[in-house]
């Protein structure tokens, strides 16, 4: 979107990710409160609008999150849904309010609890009115088809894909909010239970619960709140997935490519200037393809980029420094907001034990959302964040 005035992130919050016995609203409230306290907000009447992303936990999710904070009745709360992009879109919407002058300070939250609401041992699928879902499509299978085609065209192996999990779990080793972390071998990844060939269990993000929250505001408001390290929103883009019923290259990702191009143009920042990225690594193959789609490397060079260590600590651009979805798991409504929270902490140098060195100045987030027949994804949300102190 065209940012009509400058917008800054004042503070962020996130919960631990994993299985939680408390519901989405408790998680969302914890993240929101942390984000507000992190912004030096100590009263219920400061934030002027709130957006809450959630995928599957029901209706009036936002009001449920905020009613116990004494905030309901003081501000509009709008609930946002676009499957896995919901949390990212909630932050985008908050940014839009500030950018357009509707508010001076707004809050975007993403929260989700799957484990209390979902039958275990089944895979996510879009709604049954969808022609592909009727024919038993599942999201894992759609990514698996991208993997098989990529392997067919490039000679990439399952072991190569597994290296993405190994990298991201290593990144997460000292991250207190990550769920699956630490050393895992290529063999362990490859030999884990087959989900959708060639994707094994350890190549798929876990079905997790969690929340993330981001407070955005004007420069004046950030100063008024005494925010020491405001992060500038250099760009924010939401796109809907183009529909095709014709042959197309699924080793690319049209919506990600379009979104990235728009983000680079609007922010004036190119892929070579980005220091860290949190992207939609819901499955190993996705991260590999997105190196190319985001322009971090040339089309066809994704595997080389990984093997050369360009996407890990010490490389050209650290991809998934928090461990990505492969370590956090993926509570669909939460991930987009949590990615932004994690990036802000990196930019602020607050990630003891997994801090990117030198401290990054530019971070990018990317989250797609939802399956729909004829699209790669129904939605895509991206943000560009820059240190502003």
């Amino acid at each position: 979107m065209k940012l009509m005035r400058d917008v800054y992130i004042a503070g962020v919050g996130e919960t631990k990710f994993g299985k939680h016995s408390v519901d989405y609203d408790v998680l969302g409230r914890a993240a929101a409160l942390e984000a507000m306290r992190n912004s030096n907000i100590n009263r219920p009447d400061v934030v002027q609008s709130a957006y809450v992303g959630n995928g599957m936990n029901g209706i009036v999710t936002g009001q449920t999150v905020f009613k116990d904070l004494g905030m309901c009745g003081r501000l509009p709360i709008i609930n946002v849904e676009s499957a896995c992009s919901a949390g990212g879109m909630a932050v985008y919407s908050a940014i839009k309010d500030v950018a357009t002058g509707v508010t001076d300070i707004s809050l975007g939250v993403g929260c989700e609890n799957h484990s209390l609401h979902m039958q275990s041992g089944t895979a996510f699928a879009p709604s049954m009115s969808d022609i592909e879902t009727m024919h038993a499509a599942v999201m894992t299978g759609k990514y698996a088809m991208r993997a098989n085609r990529y392997m067919h065209e490039t000679g990439t192996t399952i072991e190569d894909l597994a290296a993405i999990t190994v990298k991201n779990r290593r990144h997460a080793t000292n991250n207190p909010n990550a769920w699956f972390k630490g050393a895992i071998t290529i063999e362990e990844v490859v030999n884990s239970r087959m989900v959708a060939y060639p994707l094994t269990l350890q190549q798929c993000c876990g079905i997790a619960d969690g929340a993330g929250a981001v407070v955005v505001c004007t420069k004046e408001m950030a100063a008024k709140l005494g925010v020491q390290k405001p992060v500038k929103v250099a760009g924010a883009v939401v796109q809907s997935g183009p529909y095709h019923n014709r042959p197309r290259d699924i080793t690319g990702d049209d919506i990600t490519e379009t979104c990235a191009e728009q983000l680079y143009e609007e922010s004036g920042i190119g892929p070579e200037d980005v220091n860290i990225v949190e992207l939609h690594d819901a499955f190993t193959i996705a991260e590999l393809l997105y190196y190319e789609c985001l322009g971090l490397c040339k089309k066809g060079d994704g595997l080389k980029y990984l093997r050369d260590g360009d996407s890990t600590y010490g490389g050209k651009c650290v991809v998934s420094p928090r461990g990505g979805m492969l370590s956090y798991g993926h509570p669909i409504g939460a991930s987009g907001a949590a990615q932004i929270a994690a990036c802000v902490k990196q930019l602020r140098g607050e990630c003891q034990g997994f801090q990117v060195d030198p401290i990054p100045r530019v971070a990018m987030t990317h989250v797609t959302g939802g399956g729909l027949s004829g699209t790669e994804h129904a939605a895509c949300t991206m943000h560009m964040l820059v240190s502003a102190w």
Partner: protein, 145 residues
């Protein structure tokens, strides 16, 4: 009035065939085929049937039988599937010569398909309906060499 009430109470039987607008199985035993929809205003050929032509919003279509054979663009074997689906099952994208891509389940053993295989249309069960009966739809299988 009471008849109406009765009708409301008894649930309608769920479908056992998907989908008469898309798949034709001739009664004379001729091979089944998919129906394409060609826009009468702009000539765009689409599958499945669109509400309006995506190109020009034309509302009138000529029905065109589509090729029964195509190329398997990509494929996967599903081991953890939708709730209620028996696993493993196989699905893929089939590219037809009419420049159309169709998503379908494959008939054949998991592990027996690879990208760029030549495949042909067949029919078979794709899932079980609410009444526990199989739903028949289009599927593809390898062309015997």
């Amino acid at each position: 009035m009471s008849d109406n009430k009765e009708a409301k109470k008894a649930p309608k039987p769920d479908i056992t065939f998907f989908h008469p607008d898309l798949l034709i199985v001739p009664e004379n035993g001729d091979p089944p085929y998919l129906q394409g929809y060609r826009c009468k205003s702009c000539g765009n050929l689409d599958f499945p049937k669109p509400t309006l032509c995506w190109n020009c919003w034309g509302e009138e279509f000529e029905i065109v039988p589509l090729s029964r054979t195509g190329v398997l663009y990509s494929v996967t074997d599903i081991f953890i599937g939708q709730a209620g689906m028996k696993t493993p099952y196989v699905f893929g994208y089939i590219d037809l010569p009419e420049n159309l891509r169709v998503f379908a389940q494959m008939e054949g053993e998991p592990g027996s398909f690879k990208c760029d295989d030549k495949v042909e249309l067949t029919i078979g069960p794709i899932r079980t309906n609410r009444d526990g009966l199989p739903i028949t739809s289009y599927k593809f299988r390898k062309i015997a060499v």
